[in-house]
């Protein structure tokens, strides 16, 4: 009885849309769920049913499976029987004869439209939260600047009141410095807000890491810090070279600063790279001052900087995170006060953007 149920009923009972396609891309059979989702299929080709197209898709997964006999899974966009756009996850499985020929393939698809909508909503909510954080961070930066300006005015007035010329000059100097800070602050803020469109090309990420280390090795040495690269096996990857350069530069400079702030004699910064399970990882570790609880809480806050005034605007890590997210990756860190920090960029290959050149060729 179970055997007959499987052969007679399962095909129409599974909550997955299944269809069988021949080498001419004709749909020759389909289950109830498929009909419910995509409507009439008899006598139609797959692209007509799934996508309302009049000709084959440019990048056709079924054609590839007919050619190489491989099972593949991909996300596709289509049109349901009422003409509404849908998104589905489809598994393409070949039916292989004893002689190795493939007369049919079977496609099993799951509707993920709702899931994709939720994903989009989540990204939008995160974007709005980031805008809120940016505004809060801006307010924080402005409060500091106002305190500086009020301080300058107070010291000038106090000097005038007490006939203390030295104090008047001191106050003026404070005002001048603070106005200089406002200019660079605004400039940096605009640069961050404007951003730049990533230019994605196939690059060798280790070469970028090498460039960054070569560029800052001498500067690190002048501060008594030994900066070196430990490159692992890393294949080519579609990335924005300038963006990656910016990220690694920010992390390396932060690590050098962390070493400078520490009182130790021998200080090291190591940039290492590796690839494991299709995830590209870049790590910048230092044995500098490390971070305590409240600094760790504010690491990714804009305009939060522990560096002396004028030396840090507090946008470096935020910019880094923005660029990494544009590549579908993430930034994480570990830090122990007094022992040092490790900042890690992880890029799963499957999330990396499409290189621009391929788009043009398609």
């Amino acid at each position: 009885m179970p055997q007959s149920w499987i052969s007679d009923e399962l095909f129409d009972r599974v909550p997955v849309a299944i269809c069988v396609i021949d080498r001419d891309f004709q749909v020759v059979d389909a289950n109830a769920k498929f009909t419910e989702l995509y409507g009439e299929w008899a006598g139609h080709r797959c692209y007509e049913v799934y996508k309302d197209r009049t000709e084959r898709c440019l990048s056709c997964g079924a054609a590839k499976t007919f050619q190489d006999g491989q099972t593949r899974e991909r996300e596709e966009e289509g049109v349901d029987r009422l003409g509404r756009p849908t998104q589905y996850l489809v598994d393409i499985v070949p039916v292989v004869r004893e002689d190795g020929s493939i007369p049919f393939i079977i496609e099993m698809s799951t509707d993920i439209t709702e899931l994709k909508n939720l994903q989009r909503q989540k990204i939008e909510a995160e974007r709005l939260a980031a805008v809120g954080q940016t505004v809060a961070g801006l307010a924080h930066g402005i409060k500091n600047l106002i305190m500086g300006l009020e301080g300058g005015m107070y010291v000038v007035n106090s000097g005038l009141r007490n006939n203390n010329e030295k104090r008047v000059l001191q106050g003026w100097q404070m005002l001048e410095e603070d106005i200089g800070r406002i200019s660079s602050f605004v400039k940096e803020f605009l640069e961050f807000a404007k951003g730049r469109r990533p230019r994605v090309e196939m690059i060798q990420p280790n070469e970028v890491a090498q460039k960054v280390v070569e560029r800052y090795r001498e500067r690190a040495a002048r501060s008594g810090v030994d900066l070196r690269l430990e490159p692992g096996e890393l294949g080519e990857a579609p990335m924005d070279e300038e963006g990656l350069h910016t990220c690694l530069t920010n992390l390396v400079l932060n690590a050098i600063d962390a070493c400078v702030m520490s009182a130790k004699d021998a200080r090291h910064v190591v940039l290492s790279t590796r690839e494991q399970d299709d995830v590209l990882t870049f790590e910048v570790s230092d044995d500098g001052c490390g971070m305590d609880y409240d600094i760790k809480q504010k690491v990714f806050t804009n305009f939060f900087s522990t560096k002396a005034s004028g030396k840090g605007t507090g946008l470096g890590l935020l910019t880094t995170r923005k660029i990494v997210q544009e590549h579908g990756g993430k930034v994480s860190f570990e830090s122990t006060e007094g022992r040092g920090s490790v900042f890690r960029l992880e890029f799963p290959r499957e999330n990396l953007p499409e290189p621009e050149k391929d788009d043009a060729a398609a």
Binding site: H140, N144, M147, D178, C289, Y293, D294, K307
Partner: protein, 142 residues
């Protein structure tokens, strides 16, 4: 310096804020000393034994919260009141027992005496300093 003058230590990583606050304090009739980061702050506090410490929260080397913890653990210093002054958006968290305990879980460390947000208002600041050092407020003296 008059013998009865109260002494206030200001710790902030910004030179301009040190000049500002020490000038306000001197004009208000206090003796002021300063330190540019948390580590120097602890050294100066041990040397000068001030009547009040004004602390910024975010500083290199050692944060204000970490310096606060050291002051409150030091038998010589723990009686000195601390006034936090920061532009840190959540400065009030330091006065919120739950949030404060996340930063310093040890209940042996008391919550800080007072927190003020940057930019300060000079009369409010002087009134707070007077109260924390047990001085009559400068307005009353005038």
């Amino acid at each position: 310096m008059r013998r009865d003058m109260k002494k206030v230590l200001v710790v902030d990583d910004e030179q301009s804020i040190l000049i500002y606050l020490t000038t306000v304090l001197e004009d208000g009739g206090y003796a002021a000393c300063s330190a540019i980061d948390g580590e120097e702050g602890l050294r100066v506090a041990r040397k000068e034994i001030p009547d009040l410490v004004c602390l910024d929260v975010m500083m290199p080397k050692r944060s204000g919260v970490s310096l606060y913890e050291s002051i409150k653990r030091d038998p010589e210093l723990r009686g000195i009141p601390v006034l936090f002054i920061s532009a840190y958006n959540r400065i009030r968290d330091l006065r919120n027992p739950l949030a404060f305990r996340k930063m310093i879980p040890d209940t042996a460390i008391p919550e800080p005496e007072l927190c003020m947000e940057k930019p300060i208002k000079v009369p409010d600041f002087l009134a707070a300093v007077a109260r924390l050092t047990g001085e009559a407020s400068p307005a009353e003296k005038d």
